[in-house]
Symmetry: C3
């Protein structure tokens, strides 16, 4: 059959002896397997504050819902190439999640649009490490997430994550050139990243480096102990609301077998006029219960603004694993505001200095 | 190779011994097969009315074009988990189809955006039935579609489908919690669904339940006979144009071997000021012709407004199956308006009380 | 397991004996393999002009980043059916690329939205050729691209491609009906296409055919020689800026073994008031260097407007193939403007009659 209609469904130009005429990159491809993967996670979430409460079905109470494609090619001589495309989606509606074109506030895209907003990278790696280009999470976010027993998902997410003031690149950055240390470094691990705001030069404004920045992370692991520090700086023109962002965080973890403890410290600053600095901490614990997990975290994030507004949070969760890929989970959280803060949970709202509580009951399925 | 660059292209945090430090849900996944599926359906459609006509290439004259991913995991003990993600797309342009965030008119998304607008669900099932969470078609739509020989696709689609006044959840609802009866119930089948509008409380408005509703369906099959009834109620604040929607429909089918007959009755009401009620019926027949199908339907949908505006439709189609997965089809339809109605077919327009006719010539390929 | 929960995760209607009641096209599908394919291509691009310069990470310096799904079904008797869905994406941000609903300027969609913008087609083919319906590249673009050693990608792209005045269907058209000659025609190849603007009739405007047009291409190959000509005409209402577009181009290629030479001539006109005509040429050479490639092109595109504005370009590139699927590449280009033209490279800007230069350093991975 294939020889009967040879050019059919090849690239259009293959309809005839066009191979002598032009070449498209695709005709010479020797295909290899592509891995498709994803998560479908949905939660019945309840939030209550002093002024309103809300019940909703929402996505990603335990892990962000996603669909991804990735692949890997051994190039010989210890060299490898690969790609990773990962889209976030919202399971309760089937819609997408926001991306950002230029690491600047005006580059944010509609949250309804599906894109490879979580990761779009191509990599080259050998024994000296990995060069990774595209859109990815920032080194400072990776470190921050690693200290959160709730992994930045659901009502239990620790405060320095939920309230982060770090702007468009708090979690991810586009236009990134990254380098990761190789795996086998006697326990050391780390990465450096440089990302571009891509503003055109010659405008004569202080904002021509808006969205351009760098991030780095270094850590090590010895036996049951690991620790890592990360930092980033991203340039923005100074306004009353925003300016250059500096992030530093450091964390450590120890696995006592019956419990894995994590501790983290965070310092985020925005060089607006006047500048704002927020500091936070996380103390987390994950207790294995058979194949299940009991999770706890206390966290705080506050600022030195007038009144010292700050929010403290207690998070408690249980993950009941039906299999390695499928879990039911329940999470409860409580926040206490002071100094004029008014953080509320799961879409509720609360008055300044009032508390809020929330609960998640959900299901996660990895595929 | 894999051991030479072990952490490469694992999740970023796996670049080193980070496993003692944090856990991501993805590292412990034992993968299973994901099914990709879809339909590519394109039609040359012609419509003519008293004031204009239109020729166009459009998508989905026999079945809506779609791409989906779904998977299934046996959890042991009769328990299973699964996911289903299905995006609609328009084959003539490659663009997407509209979704809805909150089951309310203002939650509609751009029709150009691809999303998992057709279905985004995660399920847990055992012998007692299936719990299904996410975005899915409503029970009342499922029943309505089952009575339409043209399956709600193309110029032949029966009137109560085309002109439905049931608003944003006429076909699908987001934020849904559904339960399906198990398969093996001596011929009984059915489902109940509850879906959330997710408006925040405490606003003091009658609209705080906008988009919140429920739907249900119950049916049975005995030998060649089947029948089912469905209903739904979705709350909306009352305005001149819109209000709480109530849907009821009931249908039956009998397979006489040489023809499968369906009959359906529909009653949809909108509690606007003043309220609107529309009633409709469908009589359908599908004749197997070898491996092909000849389809016929007469349908009507009208209201008790001044003048009794109503539209009657005759639909006739032939599906020529090149294989089980690929078909050519031709459909013709004719509508007659009365009482001031002005329904036209395939993008044409017609004056009140004038008729319209349309034709589809298309190809469908399932994959 | 499957028999324990038979209806689970089938289409919703399969939850019970609904098969006697309705039929969905999907339940009778015998699945076949779907090929997923794609390209991840990212470039560090630098552009400099007389008024500004820019460094950016951008996508597709060697080949446009894409993800696609395609499939093929042998229908017996020499007949085959297939589909092809291909989305463009931007690797540096993970976002999408613009599409167009109606081949008209107002039908352009947001460049952030992922869709099957590159190709969405369903086909039927046999020994007499291929019938292809949906969205695809136009015949005149295919010919134009085939004469460009840089394949319309990156800073080296030849001038008649970059500056094309051919409007919304310069590259692709939606709502297309195409026919391709069969493969085995003693060296002849070609295609004809008709595409619809889908404006409704009866509006009484001269624009009712806006976006409707046709395109065709015919070529042949003998030994190491190939040549092809293509043309298209797309109707638009005449304004000061735009009007009916006519495109003609012709090219030839000869493979001297040590170098493959291409030559092309282009004539594009827009029937605006006053009308605009641009003519261009390309001379290209691709030298195989082991498994690598050295590419060169000189190109020009200009018009007979007052002052004869024109742009000449020199492009030079090297593709270092790490494997058949993975390549590193470097490209440099230089443009010289005259007659008031101000074309600049890679996002830079330059004053009229000033030059611009640019460079790409990138990596492409096919999967």
């Amino acid at each position: 059959m294939k020889s009967a209609i040879p050019g059919f469904l090849a690239t259009g130009v293959a309809a005839a002896g066009i191979s002598a005429f032009a070449q498209t990159s695709q005709t010479t491809v020797d295909r290899t397997a592509i891995t498709m993967f994803g998560i479908a996670d949905v939660t019945i979430g309840y939030g209550a504050g002093s002024t309103s409460h809300l019940v909703q079905l929402y996505s990603g109470g335990n892990a962000t819902s996603r669909v991804g494609f990735r692949g890997f090619q051994d190039l010989g001589g210890g060299l490898a190439a690969g790609f990773w495309l990962e889209m976030g989606y919202v399971l309760d509606t089937g819609l997408g999640m926001a991306g950002n074109t230029n690491n600047q506030p005006d580059g944010a895209t509609s949250s309804n649009v599906i894109s490879f907003n979580r990761r779009a990278t191509v990599s080259l790696a050998d024994r000296w490490g990995e060069l990774r280009l595209g859109r990815d999470i920032t080194a400072s976010y990776r470190n921050r997430q690693d200290m959160d027993p709730f992994d930045n998902n659901g009502v239990g997410t620790t405060e320095p994550q939920v309230e982060s003031i770090a702007g468009p690149t708090s979690t991810r950055a586009s236009n990134m050139i990254g380098y990761f240390l190789p795996h086998d470094l006697h326990g050391f691990f780390g990465e450096v990243q440089y990302f571009l705001g891509e503003s055109i030069s010659g405008t004569g404004l202080p904002s021509s480096r808006d969205g351009t920045g760098y991030a780095g992370r270094l850590g090590f692991t010895v036996g049951n102990f690991a620790m890592a520090a990360a930092g980033s700086k991203v340039s923005y023109a100074r306004t009353a609301d925003f300016g250059t962002v500096r992030v530093f965080n450091i964390g450590a973890a120890y696995d006592f077998d019956f419990v894995r403890m994590t501790i983290g410290y965070y310092r985020d600053s925005v060089d607006s006029a006047p500048p704002v600095t927020r500091k936070g901490f996380v103390l987390g614990a994950v207790f294995p219960v058979g194949q299940d997990q009991l999770k706890m975290a206390i966290s705080s994030y506050g600022t030195r603004e007038p009144g010292d507004p700050a929010t403290r949070k207690l998070s408690l969760g249980y993950v009941y694993n039906l299999s390695k890929r499928t879990a039911l989970y329940v999470t409860g959280a409580y926040v206490r505001n002071s100094g004029g803060a008014s953080v509320a949970l799961n879409g509720a709202s609360t008055a300044p200095n009032e508390s809020s509580r929330g609960m998640d009951l959900g299901m996660r399925h990895n595929f």
